[in-house]
Every structure is written in structure tokens, then in C-alpha cells.
């Protein structure tokens, strides 16, 4: 399945506080996405949004394996990843609402959440376009010997576009510290993977670049963390890029207007049984990291942070009209 062993690392582990923080972050993202869904349903925002309920473990597990100075790029389905890097909830809401205090001052919107101050370099709405951008961030890291890595999130469907191929190849031939994190959620828009892609195991594609690859359960936050931590360790040592395929599922439609009627009966239910947040809650309790009350408290705390952040963002005014003329040129 994998072309080269990507792991064989020293198997670092996450401490109690760290695991709890990951759990809280996952709940925050879930709760954030649900709030965004309501905002759109209420017509508070025009345009579209692409939510990531069900995929929280990928964003949170991966970003937890990064350190300061590392960078991340992601797609229009990027709220989770940007929050996982540590972007403030209120300013993320503000951006989606198109308010003055938004992360991008209301110029970006749901598909372009960015917080460079936490290494969230950008969310991009052209499929595949950001992969070479992470390659470039990794190029800077290599050039400066900073030891930084860049992780780039993208979907299964994106592995069919030209930039995927070019970015993978260049990263491999220059041995750049990039982590290509493919969130295989079985669909690209409304198309099941098999209708667009002649291979079911996407790690095969890494072999075209002699690139290390692994496949993980994308609903297991610890497994994702381990895979990314191992890849990051290799990358920091100058051993080049890694491709990671995380198997996961989105609980909602592709975008606002999608009822997801193309899903076979029962598929969603099956996946909901593997809800990454519920799975992690169980695990925390089983492994004694937190008891049921503590889990409930973490959950409640996270939900409250989100609710407060939403309220703050909703109180912000729209951007000053003149601001639309700024930020074209440096």
C-alpha cells in the first residue's frame, strides 16, 4: 500500500493536556461549522461555504504535529485547518460574515480564511493551486535551514489536477520539507472517487515521485497526529516530502446548496458511528486521560467559546467601504 515506509520514527506521544486540548479543538471546530451552517441557513451571508464536520480529526491531528514557524495551506474547506493552527474563532466568524474585524478584513470570505500570524498561510478556492504554494514555503525553509515544514491539505478529487502532479514531483526532486495531506472523503463535489479516479488507494500516486507515503484513519486524531509527526520529523532532517492519505468523511453536503443525495443509503450513518469526536472522547476516557465529566466539561467549554466568539463577530460592523481599495499593492 505504501511505496516507502514513512514511519519507523521514535514514536513520540501526546501528553494529557495536549490530548485534552486536541479534543477541545475538535469540538470547537464542529461547533464553529454548525454555527456557520446556521448563519448561511438564516441568510446572514451570501455566497457559499464548504464545511468539514466529520473531518475534524485530520485538521486537528495534523496541525498539532506542527511547531512554531511551520506553515499550512488548505482549501475552501479550510475552516477546520485554519482554526486548528490557532486562528481566533471570532475573527474567523467575522471573516465569513464579511465584517471589519474578520481575519482578512472581510475581503476573503469563507473560502479564503487566512491567519499568517499562526502559520495559516491561506485557504485557496482553485483546486490544487495551493500545493505548489506550500512547496514554496518549504523551499524557503530549506533555503534558510530553518527546519520548518509546510503541510498542505487537499481532497481526494484534487489528486486528478495537474498542479498536484507538478507539486509532488518538484517537492520530491528537491527533497523539500512538505507534507501532502490528502483528505480522502470519498467524494469530489458530488462525484464518488471511483468515477473520476482509476485507483482507490491514493498512496499509489506517491510512487510516481518515489515519495514516502502512508494511509491513516482520518477519523482517529492520534493516528493522524502520529503520521504527520513522523513525516515532519523526516522532513526536518532533510529527508524530503511525505504523502499522507487520511480516510475520512464529510457529514454534510459539499457546499451550502448540496443536499448530498448522491450518497448511498446508510453510508452517512455508518460514518456517523465513527464520528471522530465521539471516538476520541471514548478513547480519552478508556485511556484515563479524562473521565466522562471532564470530557463533558471540555465539550461545554469549547462550545461556549464558540458561542461567545460568534456573538462578538456578529456585533462587528461591515468593513469601511474605502477599505476595498486597499491591499492591492504592498
Amino acid at each position: 500500500m505504501t511505496t516507502k515506509a514513512a514511519s519507523e520514527s521514535t514514536e513520540p506521544t501526546l501528553g494529557t493536556d495536549e490530548q485534552r486540548a486536541l479534543f477541545a479543538r475538535m469540538v470547537e471546530i464542529r461547533s464553529f461549522e454548525e454555527a456557520v451552517q446556521r448563519m448561511f441557513a438564516k441568510g446572514l451571508v451570501r455566497g457559499t461555504t464548504h464545511l468539514c464536520q466529520g473531518q475534524e480529526a485530520v485538521a486537528v491531528g495534523a496541525c498539532a504535529a506542527l511547531r512554531e514557524g511551520d506553515t499550512m495551506t488548505c482549501t475552501y474547506r479550510g475552516h477546520g485547518a485554519v482554526l486548528a493552527m490557532g486562528a481566533p474563532l471570532d475573527r474567523a466568524f467575522g471573516e465569513i460574515l464579511g465584517r471589519a474585524g474578520g481575519l482578512c478584513n472581510g475581503k476573503g470570505g469563507s473560502m479564503h480564511l487566512t491567519d499568517v500570524s499562526v502559520g495559516a498561510l491561506g485557504s485557496f478556492a482553485i483546486v490544487g493551486a495551493h500545493l505548489p504554494i506550500s512547496v514554496g514555503a518549504a523551499f524557503t525553509a530549506q533555503q534558510r535551514g530553518s527546519g520548518a515544514v509546510s503541510v498542505t491539505f487537499f481532497g481526494d478529487g484534487s489528486t486528478n489536477i495537474g498542479t498536484f502532479h507538478e507539486a509532488m514531483n518538484l517537492a520530491a526532486v528537491w527533497r523539500l520539507p512538505v507534507i501532502f495531506l490528502c483528505e480522502n472523503n470519498l467524494y469530489g463535489e458530488y462525484s464518488p472517487l471511483a468515477t473520476t479516479t482509476p485507483v482507490a488507494d491514493l498512496t499509489i500516486r506517491a510512487s510516481s515521485y518515489d515519495m514516502a507515503a502512508s494511509r491513516v484513519d482520518g477519523n482517529d486524531v492520534i493516528a493522524v497526529w502520529e503520521a504527520v509527526a513522523a513525516a515532519a520529523a523526516r522532513a526536518r532532517k532533510g529527508e524530503g516530502p511525505t504523502f499522507i492519505e487520511a480516510l475520512t468523511y464529510r457529514f454534510v453536503g459539499h457546499s451550502r446548496s448540496d443536499p448530498a443525495s448522491y450518497r448511498p443509503d446508510g453510508e452517512l450513518d455508518q460514518w456517523k458511528k465513527r464520528d471522530p469526536i465521539a471516538l476520541f472522547a471514548e478513547r480519552l476516557i478508556e485511556s484515563g486521560v479524562a473521565d466522562a465529566d471532564e470530557v463533558a466539561a471540555l465539550r461545554a467549554g469549547a462550545e461556549q467559546s464558540v458561542a461567545e466568539a460568534e456573538e462578538r463577530a456578529l456585533s462587528w460592523p461591515p468593513p469601511d467601504l474605502q477599505s476595498r481599495l486597499e491591499d492591492v499593492y504592498a
Binding site: G98, R99, G109, M111, I126, G188, S191, T195, P318, L325
Partner: protein
């Protein structure tokens, strides 16, 4: 004569051509099983089958190259590129292959390809999904370009585009999909014939798609003050019906062009330049172009609306012209 939406008009045009000619095929991302992201191709898979209506991978370069190769070997394919902004990822195929193939081979092939692209702003899709990109393709002889602004034009131009033996880019404005208008099925619209949407004596206003709609709003308002706009919709940018505009300017002696997008390098500037070159003496006042700010499309609703030319801005532009001309 029925009333249909712009979207349904496009759907009917596709169905009519798929029906009329076995060589017509339709490919694109999610155009088949899902009926299109904007539902323009809804029902076509069921009617025409999975051989002729096909979903593709997310591979715009392959999509456009494939319809090109199919066209030169005998099919008459239609491809959807979805958001027109995605023309960026297959720009080589559109700019360097489609329009040059016939010429470079000394006329050995014809290239009956139609590309459908979803254009334009005002719907909050952000900077990478809101561009009106027809101007990217103006300087590429070999291409034809349609920019329908009504259901009837959408229907009529799309049918003509599919039957045309040359590559045609047809831009569908996403803000217009749910607009209704009369449609006479079977009525095609030739390329290169402008529509004088509203006759008037005072100022010639040329606009397409969403800007056409706003120009008509401005015309209504100015009519109350007795200022009569002649609103012209060129409908296709290549070929461009310059004659109709010149004839109008001959009458009005005033030209205002309204364009969705930054003004540099656009069809608006090109038209202003052509009129300045060819109808200079007819003008009572300097011709004018109203366009968006020179920035990418901002996201927030307030910013996006401020960025786009409004009916107010058109009214203001006409008043300025009238002052100078007076």
C-alpha cells in the same frame, strides 16, 4: 412564447442540440449525474445517456484538450468549465490550442468546440470565483465569445455556438440564472449581431449581462427626467457588431460603456478606442467607460456592491456626459 429562467433556457438549448445532432456530446465536472453545480445540465444524463453526457475528473486541461481532440476528429462537443475563473488552469488549451490549431495547420481542421463558463460577481463568491473573464480572451483571434444577458439570448446564442464550426466561449452570468424572460423555442441568435434593447436619442449605453440589467434600470430612472438612453447589448464580443454601436452614436453623439471588471485591457476600452478611431467626429463629448475598481473582487457584500458599477453610477455617468455635451 413561454417565460423561462436563464438557467432553463440554457438547459433547453443543450437538450435541443443533443437531440438534433448525434455528434453533440457534453462533458464536465458533475454535469451528468448531478446535473451541474448550477443545475444547468439537469436531466440531460437521463435523456441522452452516459456516453454522451459525461462527468469528468477535476482536470480542466484534460477536459478542454479532450473536446479539442474530439472536435477535430468529428464530434461537436460542449464542455463546461464551471466557474469561469477556472479558465486559468486550462488557459493554455483555450488560448494556445483552440484558436490556433486551424490556423497553424493551414486550415486542415475545424474546431467546433463550445465551452460554457460561469461568469461574474455580485453573489459573494470571493475573488477566485467572481470574475468576468471574457477579457482574458479578446486578443486571441480564432475564438468567438458570447455573453448572453437574457434567457432568449442564452438559448439562442448557445444553440448557435454549438453549431458553429469554430471554438466558442459562452459565458453564463451566475447572477442571472434565476432571471425569467420570454423564450421562443427554436429561435437562435446569430453571433455578431447586437441587440438594441431600448431605443433612445440622447446617450448610447453599451453593456452586457449584469451590467445590461443595471443599464436598463438607469434608463428607467433617467427616462423620468426626460433623458433617453439607447441601451445596446452586443451579445457576442467576438465577432463584435461595431456597426450597430456606430449607428447609435451617430444618433446620440454620446457613448457610455459599462463593464463588469477592471477597465484595462477589456472589451469596453476596446470599444471606446474603436469608436474614438472611427466615429470621433460624431461625438459631442468624450466617450466614457464605467467599470469596477482596479482591485480583485472583495468578498463582503457591502464591498462587492461598492466595487461593481451600480445603476446609480450609470445614472451619474450619463449625467456627466450630458453636462459635457451640453
Amino acid at each position: 412564447m413561454t417565460e423561462v429562467t436563464y438557467r432553463d433556457a440554457l438547459n433547453e438549448a443543450l437538450a435541443a442540440e443533443l437531440e438534433a445532432d448525434q455528434d453533440v456530446v457534453l462533458i464536465g465536472e458533475d454535469v451528468a449525474a448531478a446535473g451541474g453545480v448550477f443545475k444547468v445540465t439537469d436531466g440531460l444524463l437521463d435523456r441522452f445517456g452516459p456516453e454522451r453526457v459525461r462527468d469528468t475528473p477535476i482536470s480542466e486541461q484534460a477536459i478542454v484538450g479532450t473536446v479539442l481532440g474530439a472536435a477535430v476528429t468529428g464530434l461537436r462537443p460542449v464542455a463546461e468549465v464551471m466557474f469561469a475563473d477556472f479558465a486559468g488552469v486550462c488557459f493554455d488549451q483555450i488560448a494556445n490550442q483552440l484558436p490556433k490549431y486551424r490556423y497553424m495547420t493551414g486550415g486542415q481542421v475545424s474546431v467546433p468546440v463550445t465551452l460554457r463558463l460561469v461568469n461574474g460577481a455580485s453573489t459573494g463568491f470571493g475573488a477566485q470565483h467572481s470574475q468576468a473573464v471574457e477579457n482574458w480572451f479578446l486578443g486571441l483571434p480564432g475564438l468567438k465569445i458570447c455573453v448572453p444577458g437574457t434567457p432568449a439570448d442564452a438559448y439562442g446564442l448557445l444553440r448557435t455556438a454549438i453549431r458553429d464550426d469554430n471554438p466558442v466561449l459562452l459565458f453564463e452570468h451566475k447572477a442571472l440564472y434565476m432571471r425569467k424572460g420570454p423564450l421562443d423555442p427554436g429561435e437562435t441568435v446569430p453571433l455578431g449581431r447586437a441587440d438594441v434593447v431600448r431605443a433612445g436619442e440622447d446617450v448610447t449605453v453599451v453593456a452586457t449581462q449584469l451590467m445590461r440589467e443595471r443599464a436598463l434600470q438607469a434608463a428607467d430612472r433617467l427616462a423620468e427626467e426626460g433623458i433617453r438612453l439607447e441601451v445596446i447589448d452586443p451579445r457576442s464580443l467576438v465577432p463584435f457588431d461595431l456597426e450597430t454601436v456606430v449607428r447609435s452614436v451617430e444618433k446620440t453623439a454620446n457613448l457610455l460603456v459599462v463593464e463588469e471588471g477592471p477597465g484595462s485591457g477589456g472589451w469596453g476600452s476596446t470599444l471606446v478606442a474603436r469608436i474614438a478611431e472611427e466615429a470621433f467626429e460624431m461625438l459631442d463629448a468624450p466617450p466614457r467607460l464605467i467599470c469596477t475598481d482596479e482591485t480583485p473582487t472583495p468578498f463582503a457584500a457591502e464591498l462587492e456592491e461598492a466595487w461593481l458599477p451600480s445603476a446609480d453610477a450609470i445614472v451619474g455617468g450619463v449625467r456627466d456626459l450630458e453636462l459635457v455635451a451640453a
